[in-house]
């Protein structure tokens, strides 16, 4: 009886923890337009995606901290980040940032992800831009074979 009771308690505890982990770690994706419309819930981490606006990258010389603007071609959102930017982070290119909305309306990124290669763009960003009529994809010419971002 005791064993069964322990198992039941153990399993329910595990299920509870699992559900909580699932709830807490779902990261929703929003575009700057959605953010400005107030869609992301307050104080929750989410993913922001769009293009890095041309000429928006600002850095004090010698400082690690950077500011740039993410745009979906309708609206834009200022983003701050402190750390090493990914290799393929560039102005005019797609980007996804994980982080929090700040009280001043800017977005503080904890993690910045850029494309894995020249032909690849985060699916959410690609779709977002396709909706806005922006050309998607790296090289225009060239074979249209699927090449997964990080092959396994």
């Amino acid at each position: 009886m005791l064993t069964v009771g322990l198992i039941v308690v153990g399993v329910s505890l595990a299920v509870g923890l699992t559900l909580r982990a699932f709830q807490e770690n779902m990261l929703y994706f929003y575009s700057p337009t959605q953010v400005l419309a107030g869609e992301p819930p307050q104080g929750r981490k989410f993913r922001l995606g769009g293009l890095v606006e041309e000429g928006s990258l600002v850095r004090q010389p010698g400082e690690l901290k950077v500011k740039f603007i993410v745009t979906d071609l309708h609206n834009e959102l200022p983003v701050t980040y402190e750390g090493v930017l990914p290799d393929l982070f560039r102005e005019g290119q797609g980007v996804v940032a994980h982080g929090y909305l700040q009280p001043d309306g800017s977005f503080r990124a904890e993690e910045v992800l850029a494309k894995h290669d020249e032909n690849y763009m985060a699916p959410e960003v690609a779709e977002l831009l396709a909706k806005e009529g922006h050309p998607v994809g790296g090289k225009a010419a060239g074979p249209a074979t699927s090449q997964a971002p990080v092959q396994n």
Partner: protein, 653 residues
């Protein structure tokens, strides 16, 4: 001409695969020896033509024939020969060719060793493997043809993604696929046995080495991928719970459960239902993983749907294989298992718990991997499930599993005495607890309770695994067979892995810093001095190379050269980290951006015990290798009575 020859050979291979499916399977059902006899020659023929087809495709890569679409897409004339060859599996179409070739290799191995099997069983196994091969070859030829030409012919190719221009990454897909595809043998054995209506201990003994071999390759493949991600992606992480990684890890978990379930079926003639189900599950997840990674569904659910031919084909194939296998299971499995003849405390119970926990972990990972795809397909929002979810749901079943494994290894079949078990293992337990607290505190300072628990669990499993071999060295205890030593070594590997993961996750230091030329930054006990920065020319890239000296207490211990490379063809920048590897710790420096004012951003990391993670995996794989070498797997068909030795406390699991 060459690609056309390749296509011809592949098409002939498809025809032979259909023959290899139809005649043996129907022949076995109708008891026609002549039809069953088709199995072996058809399998050999299929292999020969697939090898030729693959060879012709490889020739196009080696000869830089950019009129072939896939060559133009993933290769380049400047690429070194070895990477041109590896570029074959750098894209979707070529990687599936590799997949079916490896399937043919496994089929040949089964064919060669099938002489000692009953004729009908051998025919059915080869027939099921032919069916899988036929399905994939049909897919390759109809919607994923690697031999297509391109017009106009480009001057040069698009190049292989620079991230993949790396020895470990060139080897990673073939080894991983060997593991994936290897589970098809256990799958085919399961289907064949169910069709025959006979699953017994001899059957389990036949399947075990195949399953262990596939598992061994998968273990090495996954470890290689993790190691590559660590040094090549430039982030210093070793596992990201990326869907691509999960796709390879889920079959590993189920395959591990299968190995343990098979042990019970062989020793005790029990758990047949779960053995069959796990055999189906391991291969189904391998198939799912292949398509998850290769179909583009992860890149975008909608891109996948916009190419309906591929999408519909893949889904149909998955449904036929998985659904068909489960239907046969539902039809045949009831009545296979007799009522259990074991007590609550016994080797069987421990293995049952093991299977449940491993399957649970795989299920929760599957949920986290597929849920975002389902939501997206339903237009219900774009989410991603973060690393903390996977960390949590993985630790919950794994911690009790590691603790239980240390006990279960020493439990007797049928009925074990718990108090005797605890008495036997009290010293490993006590030593694990004390050493976990003291070593951890002395080496790295204090951490959360879970860290001590994790380190203790790892040491506990290590000591418990090594107990019997060490006693044997002093001439005590029972003699050990190869499969026991393999089992103990594999579990010791898990122990090393657990220690490595726990220590690395808790005590790693990762920091991004702005560092001027000549400046020194202190991370943990180590002083990193940014000495110099120079241009360097590589074969197909230009690099900026930093010189970083590392000193500890004023003594120089390492000289690191992190690089930032620009690959000429794809003009893609890439970070090549400078790593000083050591058994106790890695020091890791990646070169970031030019911050102006002579300063650069450097990512500096101190990673204690990270080598234990991959070393543990290697030890696991080595254990598998030794277990396969056990003599009883190579003995001719044995009569039941000569091998029954159940009830001996130390039979391998």
């Amino acid at each position: 001409m060459i690609p056309e020859l390749g296509q011809l050979c592949t098409t002939i291979a498809l025809c032979l695969a259909v023959v290899q499916t139809f005649f043996p399977l129907v022949g076995a059902q109708l008891d026609k020896p002549a039809w069953m006899a088709v199995a072996r020659p058809a399998a050999v023929g299929q292999f020969v033509f697939l090898a030729l087809g693959f060879g012709f495709l490889e020739a196009s890569f080696i000869n830089n024939d950019f009129s072939v679409l896939v060559v133009a897409a993933t290769s380049n004339s400047q690429l070194p020969l070895l990477y041109r060859m590896a570029a074959l599996w750098g894209g979707h179409e070529g990687s599936l060719m590799l997949w079916v070739l490896l399937l043919a290799v496994w089929t040949i191995a089964v064919t060669v060793s099938s002489r000692r099997l009953p004729e009908a069983l051998a025919a059915r196994i080869i027939g099921v493997m032919g069916f899988i091969s036929a399905g994939l070859l049909l897919y390759i030829i109809s919607v994923s043809n690697p031999f297509l030409r391109l017009s106009p012919v480009p001057m040069d190719g698009n190049d292989l993604n620079p991230l993949l221009q790396d020895p470990a990454m060139a080897m990673h897909p073939p080894i991983l696929y060997t593991g994936y595809v290897g589970f098809s043998v256990a799958f085919a054995y399961a289907i064949a046995a169910m069709l025959a209506g006979r699953v017994d201990r001899q059957w389990a003994r036949w399947v075990r080495p195949w399953t262990t071999a596939a598992w061994m390759f998968l273990t090495i493949g996954i470890a290689l991928g993790s190691w590559w991600a660590y040094y090549e992606l430039g982030w210093g992480g070793w596992w990201f719970w990326d869907p691509v990684e999960n796709a390879s890890f889920m079959p590993w978990l189920i395959g591990t459960a299968l190995i343990h379930s098979l042990a019970v079926t062989e020793k005790r003639d029990l758990f047949k239902g779960s053995t069959l189900l796990l055999a189906i599950g391991a291969f189904s997840l391998s198939l799912l993983g292949t398509f998850l990674v290769r179909s583009g569904v992860l890149v975008s659910v909608h891109a996948f749907a916009s190419d309906p031919a591929r999408g519909v084909f893949i889904l149909s194939l998955l449904i036929i294989v998985i659904g068909g296998a489960l239907s046969i299971y539902a039809w045949r499995a009831p009545g296979l298992d007799r009522n259990a003849g074991f007590k609550v405390i016994s080797r069987e119970t421990f293995l049952l718990v093991n299977n449940i926990l491993l399957s649970t972990a795989a299920g929760l990972i599957l949920l986290g991997t597929l849920y975002p795809l389902v939501l997206d397909a339903l237009e219900a929002g774009k989410i991603s499930v973060g690393k903390p979810y996977f960390d949590t749901v993985f630790i919950i079943p794994m911690l009790p599993l590691v603790l239980a494994t240390g006990l279960g290894m020493h439990a007797a079949w049928k009925s074990a005495n718990l108090s005797e078990l605890l008495r036997k293992l009290r010293w490993p337990a006590i030593i694990a607890l004390i050493s976990s607290i003291t070593i951890t505190a002395l080496a790295w300072g204090t951490g959360p309770v879970l860290t001590y628990v994790g380190v203790a669990a790892g040491i506990w499993l290590l000591l418990s695994s090594l107990r019997a071999p060490v006693m044997r060295l002093f001439g005590k205890g029972p003699r050990l067979t190869a499969s026991m030593i393999g089992m103990q070594l594999a579990h010791a590997g898990v122990g090393l892995f657990v220690i490595g993961v726990t220590v690395t996750s808790t005590f790693s230091i990762e920091t991004d810093q702005s560092v001027r030329l000549g400046e020194t930054v202190q991370v943990a006990d180590y002083a990193f001095t940014f000495k110099d920065l120079q241009q360097r020319q590589g074969p197909n890239y230009t690099a900026l190379r930093a010189d970083v000296d590392v000193t500890r207490n004023g003594r120089k211990i390492a000289h690191l050269n992190p690089e930032k490379r620009i690959y000429r063809v794809q003009t893609m920048p890439m970070t090549e980290a400078g790593i000083d590897a050591g058994l106790g710790r890695d020091l890791f420096v990646a070169l970031g951006d030019d911050l102006g004012n002579n300063a650069w951003s450097l990512r500096i990391q101190y990673k204690p015990m990270i080598r234990f993670i991959w070393f543990g995996c290697l030890v696991m794989a080595l254990g598998g290798l030794i277990a396969i070498g056990d003599r009883r797997y190579r003995a001719a068909v044995q009569t039941e009575s000569s091998t029954v030795n159940a009830g001996t406390a130390t039979r391998p699991a």
